[in-house]
């Protein structure tokens, strides 16, 4: 168990190191020097000024050294400065994290609460009209772009309430906060719930075919007890892994959803940073996303071990 954890943590470090190299190189092969862009956009003409920008940004240094400076800073919590705002990157990123984190958590809660029960119902009622309806629903959830769903919801708001919910940095009550985030969370979580539903259904169908379910029935347990006490726990196991993978996917949905609903979170900020070619920002944001994804996967695997005795007791 402990050795497994150590192995996992080491692999995590290797992966993150790989991400840092990949993102660093990707951003250096950009056509056009960043200094050129800044130089042009600032409307400067003096070549000496340009030299100064290049030197300020450390762009005249050899690539390995530039990389080392970044990595070294990263390890010491110094993420450098934004090209655009010229503020420390960390001060720009940190306040945006809780906004996205809350939205993501809400979306995931929605996805699990809707996806798992509907998947179970769909499996238990296999090949009924209800099952077909739920399957079409989940397939359409996987087919709709989440930003379009968001726009449709906005459209419905206009039609029914005559207004669009506006993001408020400091809502007064918890309920106001929930009401504000519920719509974006549902529109980004719909895809995840559709995926979870599909997986729960197929996993449940597979479990219901297994011998121990028949044993449980032979003991005289009711269908409800067989489905929920025996089958569901087994069926949920593979779904847990999916929830981990889906959390990573969720970030993609968050990028567009935050854009549609005008939410100043960290996901939308990545797009803005890319548009402004604010590469120190992009670089660090991507690292941040990678850390989150890798950690979530680790947590999910550990959770899996807690739930499944077969893994818990195997040394």
């Amino acid at each position: 168990m402990l050795s497994y954890l150590i192995r996992r943590l080491l692999l995590m470090v290797v992966t993150l190191f790989g991400v840092s190299v990949a993102i660093f190189l990707l951003l250096r092969i950009v056509p056009g020097n960043i200094a050129d862009i800044l130089f042009d956009s600032a409307g400067l003409i003096d070549p000496a000024e340009k030299q100064k920008i290049v030197a300020d940004l450390g762009l005249d240094l050899p690539l390995p050294l530039q990389y080392w400076q970044w990595l070294n800073g990263l390890l010491h919590g110094d993420l450098g400065f934004s090209y655009v705002s010229e503020k420390p990157v960390i001060d720009e990123i940190l306040p945006r994290i809780p906004i996205t984190a809350r939205l993501a958590a809400l979306a995931m809660i929605f996805a699990v609460c809707a996806g798992v029960p509907l998947g179970v119902i769909s499996a238990v009622r296999q090949n009924t009209k209800l099952d077909y309806a739920l399957r079409v629903l989940s397939l359409s959830g996987l087919s709709m772009p989440s930003f379009w769903l968001g726009l449709l919801i906005l459209m419905a708001c206009v039609r029914w309430f005559g207004t669009i919910p506006i993001y408020d940095r400091a809502p007064e009550t918890f309920w106001a906060w929930l009401a504000m985030l519920a719509i974006p969370a549902a529109s980004v979580g719909f895809r995840s719930s559709a995926l979870i539903m599909r997986l729960t259904r197929s996993s449940m169908l597979e479990v219901l075919r297994q011998d121990f379910v028949r044993t449980a029935k032979s003991k005289g347990l009711s269908d409800t007890a067989v489905t929920y006490d025996h089958a569901l726990r087994n069926a949920v196991l593979p779904v847990i892994t999916t929830i981990g993978v889906e959390t990573a996917f969720l970030f993609g949905g968050l990028i567009v959803t935050e854009t549609v609903f005008n939410i100043p979170g960290v996901a939308r900020f990545l797009v803005e940073a890319i548009r402004w070619r604010d590469y120190p920002m992009v670089q660090n944001l991507v690292m941040f996303i990678a850390v989150v994804v890798v950690s979530v996967n680790l947590i999910v695997d550990l959770l899996y071990m807690l739930v499944d005795p077969r893994i818990r007791y195997s040394e």
Partner: protein, 291 residues
């Protein structure tokens, strides 16, 4: 009751096999029809579209659906319906281009990993983990940021994150195929490794590859739409469905809903069709993944 389980169709030829499966998977047929309509309108866009998708008309700015403009007109007075028909080309190009590159390279990498093994396999696996540490859209965003926006770069940006997804599946497929008795038997008869690979292993990875590639079609279309929606995908003047929905759509929600509804409907319908088709292909070709 092993005697009663279906053992699959008795094949009398391609047409009867197709017919047999078509009756078994009606939803798959629906998906195939959607995809065929989509592909045909992309290919024959110039003939199908009633108006020129590029010609602007100040008088028709934000014209409501009806009359000349079946699905209304955009800000610049361009016909939405014609732009949607032409937009199918972009979606199709990206879907096919990215899926082919991603699956092709992915399959090659997966085969190589399964066959060469050792340090090469380890290295590729580590690289795969790096890819998996980033969501697909983030990867695609960063790659387009680095390559610059163009149709070709959008295809590349979407294809690259597909490679590890495909290579992982093919790799595990190859590893399990290599243990199969008939492959062992082929080796025992003195067939060379490469001959075994080409004659026995490669054809058997084809079914999962087709299933996987079809399943990815929808996700590539969605990724392209997202990229273009964010303004980092296929640039003007190509009419891309995603870009037709781009940010300014938030204000059209109030003033011109048709600019929001139709492009989104087009994306959803095509992705829905490809998902239906993908599910049916999975059930028909790869019973192990059946649910």
């Amino acid at each position: 009751m092993s005697t009663t389980t279906a053992t699959g169709p008795v094949t009398h030829g391609l047409m009867s096999t197709v017919w047999y499966n078509a009756r078994r998977y009606p939803l798959g047929v629906a998906g195939a029809i959607i995809m065929i309509v989509f592909v045909l309108s992309a290919i024959f866009a110039t003939w199908v579209a009633p108006l020129d998708p590029f010609s602007t008309n100040a008088k028709a700015s934000l014209a409501a659906p009806g009359g000349t403009y079946l699905m209304g007109a955009d800000m610049m007075g361009r016909d939405v319906f014609s732009r949607l028909i032409h937009g199918a080309r972009v979606s199709l190009a990206v879907a096919i281009g990215a899926t082919m590159i991603g699956s092709g390279v992915g399959a090659a990498v997966g085969l190589a990993c399964g066959y060469i093994g050792g340090w090469f396999d380890l290295l590729v696996q580590r690289v795969t983990e790096v890819f998996q540490a980033l969501p697909l859209l983030v990867m695609a965003l960063v790659i387009t940021a680095s390559l610059g926006p163009s149709l070709r770069n959008t295809i590349i940006a979407i294809a690259i994150p597909l490679i590890p997804i495909v290579s992982r599946v093919i790799r595990s497929n190859v590893l399990s195929l290599r243990e199969m008795p008939y492959v062992e038997a082929a080796k025992a008869t003195g067939m060379s490794e490469w001959r075994v690979a080409i004659i026995h292993v490669l054809p058997n990875t084809l079914a999962p590859l087709i299933v996987l590639a079809t399943a990815q079609l929808g996700s590539t279309i969605l990724t392209e739409a997202s990229l273009s929606f964010l303004g980092l995908g296929v640039p003007e003047p190509y009419p891309s469905w995603g870009r037709m929905l781009s940010e300014s759509a938030a204000e059209y929600v109030r003033t011109a809903p048709w600019l929001v509804i139709y492009p989104g409907l087009a994306i959803s319908l095509v992705v829905f069709g490809s998902n239906l088709l993908g599910d049916a292909l999975r059930d028909a070709l790869d019973p192990r993944q059946r649910d």
